[in-house]
């Protein structure tokens, strides 16, 4: 058996990788991927601790997380698409019509 703390460490590592991607990447699509990493870090935790606690709550919730992640990507790509049409790029720092 893999000790449950390792899952925690793995999830944290994945989360931090995602966070790093968000902070360093300017491409909107890479940004989306980083967010997916972060959400999947949560899923790792949920599934691992679902097994640890012996109930299925975490597993079931991870299904919902996946569904929502997918929906989020769908909306996100739609927005990125209109971004591309308006700004001719998917660089998130280009959109500077308004003061940040």
């Amino acid at each position: 058996m893999v000790p449950v703390q390792w899952y925690l460490l793995l999830a944290t590592a994945v989360f931090c990788i995602g966070l790093f991607g968000i902070l360093t990447r300017k491409n909107a699509l890479l940004f989306l991927m980083s967010v997916e990493l972060m959400l999947n870090a949560a899923n790792i935790n949920l599934v691992a601790f679902s097994a640890y606690w012996g109930n299925v709550t975490g597993q079931t919730f991870s299904l919902f997380t996946m569904a929502l992640a997918a929906a989020e990507v769908a909306v996100g790509i739609g927005i990125i698409l209109v971004l591309y049409r308006n700004f001719d790029d998917v660089d998130v720092t280009l959109a500077r019509e308004m003061r940040w």
Binding site: T60, L63, F64, M66, A67, A70, A71, V73, A74, G78
Partner: protein, 137 residues
């Protein structure tokens, strides 16, 4: 857990066989550099423009629909698994079937809307294209 060791082993083999074939081929095959050979194929003409052409928005609409429905199947699957055993254990149809019917009903409303708004309509002509997908202010 040993199940997954076996599956992982198959994964390894699945990667190993193609790589092995590549290695064998690399040892066998000749390499004759010759100008013009590496030009990409465009029916024999000199290639023009970038290969990353803008493609039809329809591909994206379909992808969006897929994301929605595919993810819903994730939620349908656990239900199918317990459906029969739940019935055998005395759950009524109202408890076990009705929620899923509502769920699918909502999905169907979405599908009908997407259908009627041309999300699953492939382009037929530029005019139809304008009427269906460029409908905006």
């Amino acid at each position: 857990m040993n199940q997954w060791i076996a599956i992982g082993a198959l994964g390894l083999v699945g990667v190993g066989i193609p790589i092995g074939m590549m290695v064998v081929s690399a040892l066998l095959r000749p390499s004759v550099s010759e100008q013009g050979k590496t030009v990409i194929y465009e029916s024999g003409e000199v290639p023009t423009g970038t290969a990353h052409v803008q493609f039809n928005i329809q591909y994206y609409m379909v992808a969006l629909l897929f994301v929605v429905f595919d993810v819903e199947t994730v939620l349908i699957f656990p239900w199918t698994m317990i459906y029969r055993s739940a019935l055998e254990q005395g759950a009524t149809l109202g408890q076990i079937l009705a929620p899923m019917l509502v769920f699918i009903g909502i999905l169907v409303v979405g599908l009908v809307w997407a259908w009627r708004n041309g999300a699953v309509e492939w382009v037929k002509s530029p005019r139809a294209n304008r009427a269906k997908t460029e409908r905006q202010s």
